[in-house]
């Protein structure tokens, strides 16, 4: 019997998050308290119901989970704090899933928190590791994505307008999501005319650094209906890391993302055609175009045509980032992966308001990142949910 057959089904029964934005006056405790309390109230649980807690942060310092949860009555139990770059929140979620699935407890809480405006990288680019040869020669994260973008244009004829349309879509969606950092519609012209960061990547095609927190409550599916009539089952949970750069020949395609997605589809027993809504890691417009392809939402090289077809728009065949994504909703690093789960929880139970994808029953979340010298990227996580 494989590991997954030995595990219990686990469901999400509650979720909550702060509005994302720039809140330099707020502490991790304050952001975390708000998200944790919202998730606990949404689930209808009390502090004593929780048997395990995991929390992701990159810049939040030690014991961030204890610092947040002591503010909502949770103490004296097992806490685990997780750092896995932009996938920290998803990693914390996966750990909580695994604990409940393995039978350690019936109810666990997972969170992610980040205050980028009070972090050591506030107002700056996240620097490459000091031992990184490419970093010494000038490579930055936006440059890395600009290089992939230029190659995608060369290989597949993807146009600047097609990349810009990703940002138009996600900002349109963000205007409909009260949790989104930006509430502003943009045109293709606005995006292409914004300050050039690394040609062909302009400023309005890059996600902001943000502050925020998100939390979800997980429960053994066999008892989940005590708390909600709409438990959202975790159908797949995958966490991986990037392979050596010398094995990454095609820089227009994320091997690690593809591999994690294929493993998730296999675990869930469904394919990309069965997914109703996707929240993916659009740190840059080019990343969203690439992830359409590596997650199998369209064929390789067809990302530009997929956005033109309006497939990934809110009213399209497969809405992608109805929340506004990282580009509009914002990117508090470790909160992002958990916030994606909160977003799809609202979608699948039919409570997503103006960004509701009508009739959505299955969802996929995808988050990755972490500049590690010599690897494609640090960490990748894909989850699939069903209701």
């Amino acid at each position: 019997m494989g590991m997954t057959e030995a595990l219990r089904d686990v469901a999400v029964i509650g979720g909550g998050m702060t509005v994302f934005g720039k809140f330099p006056e707020r502490t991790h405790e304050s952001l975390g308290r708000e998200a944790m309390l919202a998730a606990m109230k949404d689930a209808g649980i009390k502090p004593k119901d929780v048997g395990f807690a995991s929390c992701g942060t990159v810049y939040g310092g030690w014991c961030v989970g204890q610092r947040m949860l002591k503010e909502v009555g949770i103490s004296d139990m097992e806490f685990l704090n997780v750092e896995n770059a932009c996938a920290s929140g998803a990693s914390a979620f996966r750990e909580a899933w695994l604990r409940v699935a393995a039978g350690q407890c019936d109810i666990a809480i997972a969170g992610g928190v980040e205050s980028m405006t009070t972090s050591p990288v506030a107002g700056k680019l996240i620097p490459p590791p000091p031992d990184d040869v490419d970093g010494q020669l000038g490579l930055t994260v936006p440059m890395f994505f600009a290089l992939m973008m230029r190659r995608h244009m060369h290989e597949y004829g993807t146009t600047p307008e097609q990349f810009a349309r990703v940002s138009v879509k996600n900002h349109d969606n963000g205007c409909l999501n009260p949790y989104s950092q930006y509430q502003r519609r943009l045109t293709v012209e606005d995006i292409l005319a914004s300050r050039m960061v690394c040609d062909p990547l302009s400023l309005l095609q890059c996600c902001p650094n943000s502050d925020g927190a998100a939390a979800v409550v997980l429960c053994a599916n066999e008892v989940a209906r005590r708390f909600t009539s709409t438990p959202m089952v975790v159908a797949a949970s995958i966490l991986g890391s990037g392979d050596y750069l010398h094995k990454w020949e095609d820089a227009t395609f994320s091997n690690m993302s593809h591999k994690a997605a294929m493993a998730a589809y296999e675990m869930a027993g469904i394919g990309p055609k069965d997914i109703d809504v996707v929240e993916l890691h659009d740190a840059f417009t080019v990343a969203e175009i690439m992830h359409y392809e590596d997650l199998g939402l369209c064929s390789k090289g067809e990302g530009g045509r997929f956005i033109d077809s309006r497939g990934p728009w809110l009213d399209g065949t497969l809405p992608v980032n109805p929340s506004g994504g990282l580009l509009s909703k914002g990117h508090p690093l470790a909160a992002t992966g958990v916030a994606q789960v909160v977003e799809v929880w609202r979608q699948l139970r039919g409570g997503a308001g103006k960004i509701q994808v009508s009739g959505a029953k299955t969802a996929l979340t995808h988050v990755m990142g972490g500049y590690v010298s010599g690897l494609e990227s640090g960490a990748i996580s894909v989850h699939i949910f069903k209701i």
């Binding site: 000038g138 440059m143 230029r150 060369h154 040609d199």
Partner: protein, 130 residues
């Protein structure tokens, strides 16, 4: 002119009339590395032989950064160049204007100053159109 020092040891060699990127190859399984490694990641052998990747390469992609980075004032050009043995190298590009750059064009390696540290000239590899 002060002392001329490489930004890091062991990444390139400069002969009388040639420059070359240098890495190594595992004598046991043949895996190639740039930069050179002391341990083969494929088979954990510690017996690796030095190899050169030549002077020429092909432009795989490029960008112009309008943001300064740690050591470079904006704007600056950089790209990925495919060198021999399937090695892809990130490097600053030396060009007059962006219109000169075409993906797939032949590039040649040069060693030039990256930045100054007091009296010292810190040098590293760059590529320019051939």
């Amino acid at each position: 002119m002060g002392q001329r020092v490489p930004f890091r040891e062991g990444l390139f060699s400069e002969g009388a009339d040639d420059v070359c990127l240098t890495g190594n190859r595992c004598r046991k399984c043949g895996q190639i590395y740039f930069p050179a490694r002391s341990l083969c990641f494929a088979c954990l052998a510690e017996d690796l032989e030095p190899i050169g990747f030549g002077r020429e390469g092909t432009l795989y992609s490029y960008t112009v950064s309008y943001m300064p980075s740690l050591r470079f004032e904006a704007p600056f050009y950089a790209g990925w160049v495919n060198a021999r043995e399937g090695v892809r190298v990130f490097a600053p590009l030396v060009i007059e204007e962006e219109a000169q750059l075409i993906i797939g064009m032949k590039m040649e390696l040069l060693v030039a100053e990256l930045w100054r540290e007091g009296e010292k000239s810190v040098v590293g590899y760059k590529y320019r159109p051939l």
